[in-house]
Symmetry: C3
Subunit: 162 residues, 3 copies
């Protein structure tokens, strides 16, 4: 519970998979509908969810950082599925089934979460290892440490590692 007496949910977003991102962002949107405060901490592959597709990196990158930056998906809709071949279902099939049922897209859920005031933070160490500067992330995202995440998680009523 936070200082205002409202409930809080903390999500540590480790995965960069399309389907897991969908689950996390649907939970974040639903929680806001219930007036639950939501804090998301993006670490490791989870950073892929909050890259700014239009950003131009400042400063120097090492060769490996450049390679990594170029090879990884810049846009959230380009994330891969956690189970490419689970039951033969591919990402196209899932996205097709979502369209058939008028389910919003992953980027819609991301924008919804941002509009509803979900707090989004990126892991400092992950950014350093992967060579991402804050200017390469969505402008709503700030970079914080694992300790900051833990303080948030301690104040939360629900903590999930996704």
């Amino acid at each position: 519970m936070n200082n205002n007496g409202s409930s809080m949910m903390s999500i540590l977003m480790f995965s960069g998979d399309y389907d897991k991102a969908l689950a996390a962002l649907i939970l974040a949107n639903s929680a806001r509908e219930l007036n639950i405060e939501v804090s998301m901490f993006f670490a490791f592959w989870g950073l892929m969810l909050v890259r700014d597709p239009n950003s131009i990196p400042e400063g120097e990158k090492t060769t490996m950082e450049k390679m990594f930056s170029n090879m990884s998906p810049k846009h959230i809709e380009d994330l891969p599925l956690s189970k490419m071949n689970f039951a033969g279902i591919g990402k196209k099939m899932l996205v097709g089934m979502m369209e058939d049922t008028d389910t919003p897209k992953l980027s819609d859920f991301l924008n919804g979460a941002l509009n509803k005031g979900v707090s989004m933070k990126a892991c400092k160490l992950s950014c350093e290892v992967m060579g991402f500067g804050e200017e390469e992330l969505l402008k709503e995202v700030t970079i914080v440490t694992a300790e900051d995440y833990l303080v948030d998680a301690l104040n939360s009523d629900i903590q999930l590692f996704i």
Copy 2:
């Protein structure tokens, strides 16, 4: 803590992997032994755990829904391993090692959980996207929304995303 003053555990079952299902259902059974109330919410691939193998779908399915329904495992024992090739171990090997040590099967843990009163709910949006009707799920399973899950999770002492 619930209204009766007993502890509660909430599991969001996202994965449809044999080994993760095993972990979740062992936890559910163990929690009931300690008189902890357990609520499981099956979403995305997790729905595969609670399909009724003998069900005949009512209503019309789209071509994609039919494809998906036919290609995905109908029985819990047919779920794949999360790491097919981890350390060269295949599912046969794991199941063989379980048999050698007289460990119950995954379906035994599922039945145990049902018999011990674990509450099982399926995610409404996941059912819609994947085209599953309630009649295709185990009869103990009811379909609820992500908001319903969050209310359950808020009342729980332990929340896990598996």
Copy 3:
């Protein structure tokens, strides 16, 4: 909260992936810096994190247990990545990027956690199924049941399944 009034974090370490182990052990180290008590419960593939690389197994192993023991990584630095091909990044690339940024190695974080008094327990059923004796695990690790884990988790302020 524990008997001494300090906060507690409980991690159920299911995965045996290098990157997920890194996330878990960074959290464990950071939590100790904040004086949060940490309890880690290693189950299934997570057991791979706490094998003693120098141990000689006592007692008889079945053929399958021997095969499994020989084929699985004995040293924590040999764990595979959860996404070998995610964005084309391999484990060598990640480890290289970690070295470039002077990030400690996985084994450093493991030793750090042990030195800082993180409590480490192994799942009894997992040990039995995989044929691991306590003498094959790090000497700081004790074998406990899923019920023991749940009691720990109930007393914790943060519970994560990784």
